[in-house]
Symmetry: C2
Subunit: 257 residues, 2 copies
């Protein structure tokens, strides 16, 4: 954890008092990813598990389909560059820059009957509360800095993979990168995120055949619409012993299934 | 505000109870910006003040320097496209995709002696607390949905321009776009943001000659370093009657100056 935070002198001002203290601040790292010798993207991220981040990012963007397609990963941490070599050279449309002028086309193109998630996975409300409680206790950098997001892949019994990052997207990509490199299946599992669920986050998770997404925070309307279309159970605002289930509420059952 | 939110049926689960309620959710809108007939970027944003967003984005990216350079703004809300025409065609490096493989070069290139902020603007701790209290009460969409960020341009006496958006960057760009279109000066003023302050946010604000940035949330280490180099006063974690001053604490004085 030390590598992801740094101590800084801070002037703390409270009612009528000024104190010089030291505070722990989350580090921000600039990681340039090259794919087959072409500049792909520069991500601002937390400086840990950078291979997971690069692999997860490529996978989320559809640039790699499986571990077998990766020929080489060379991380130069000093220069902030990771060089990825893959079997096939797929087109990169970019998360930010798109060639489409149409509204929302990129987000809805993924929605068809094949991509609907039909698995019967169920979870009890108590299991959701227990997972989220565990999730919130696992976050050392957040507790130290208040400045990072976290994400986890779980099954009903507990957390399987956990990550933290200054970016919402990065935290989730790090999980999927780790799963891909370690051959951990994501299908029929559960994702928890500390961050807001936008359409991009919803799609990123649904593409992995994950039927249940839990957020500590709020969803957007597009995320709710996509979750409806893709038959994903979207849970938000899990706080204490309360939650909002936005879609496919049948998966959240009263008693442990 | 109605246009930026929508009501959805939600299953609320609390300890042993399931209730079908309606909840208000923040809308997410996909806005494609074209610049002089070239596709520039697609932003996921809240569907309000889209002209301010487009102008603020272009200005933050250095693609326009002033209002006089804008020849035309045509918003097609139905299709989610805004067409901007400008006098000059500047290069767009992209916020996400950069041609540089070096670490952090993009972020530090802006730092030189000329860009240091030397104004003597001071603010009292009480004025900071009062501004933040006002800021937090101005946020109707956040109060309704818990799912948006807000930003404000202020002077010591109060809020001059306020905006909300599902994106941290968008909320700030909307403010700067409004300032540019309405000839509101940003120099020697104060920015408040609900979101984390990363290097990108710090640079975006410092470029406007703003000497004081206040965040409800945490900064990253790069933002603190940049604030040190640029002599910007960076305040974080303003909660109730407490704040952390990370840099240039001399601007926060005990008594109202």
């Amino acid at each position: 954890m030390t590598g992801e935070t740094e101590r800084f002198p801070v002037l703390r001002i409270t009612e009528g008092r000024r104190t010089n203290i030291e505070d722990v601040i989350a580090k921000e790292f600039s990681l340039a990813i090259t794919l087959n010798d072409r500049d792909l993207v520069t991500l601002l991220c937390s400086p840990a598990n950078l291979e997971y981040l690069a692999v997860g990012f490529l996978s989320s963007e559809g640039l790699i389909r499986g571990k077998g397609e990766i020929k080489n990963i060379i991380l130069d941490e000093e220069r902030g560059v990771i060089r990825m070599e893959t079997e096939e050279d797929r087109d990169f449309a970019g998360r930010l820059i798109t060639s489409s002028g149409g509204r929302g086309t990129a987000y809805y193109s993924a929605v068809d009957a094949q991509s609907q998630i039909k698995v019967k996975t169920e979870i009890s409300a108590d299991e959701v509360f227990a997972l989220v409680e565990d999730f919130q206790h696992r976050s050392p950098i957040y507790r130290a800095t208040g400045g990072v997001h976290s994400a986890a892949l779980c099954n009903k019994d507990g957390i399987l993979v956990f990550s933290e990052d200054i970016g919402r997207h990065n935290a989730i990509d790090k999980i999927f990168g780790e799963c891909l490199l370690k051959d951990i299946s994501t299908a029929e599992r559960i994702v928890i995120t500390s961050g807001r669920v936008s359409s991009e986050i919803l799609l990123k998770v649904a593409k992995r055949s994950i039927p249940i997404i839990i957020s500590i925070s709020a969803p957007t309307d597009l995320a709710v619409r996509l979750a409806t279309d893709l038959k994903v159970t979207l849970i938000g605002f899990v706080r204490g012993r309360r939650m909002n289930v936005y879609t496919e509420g049948w998966r959240v059952v009263a008693e442990s299934p």
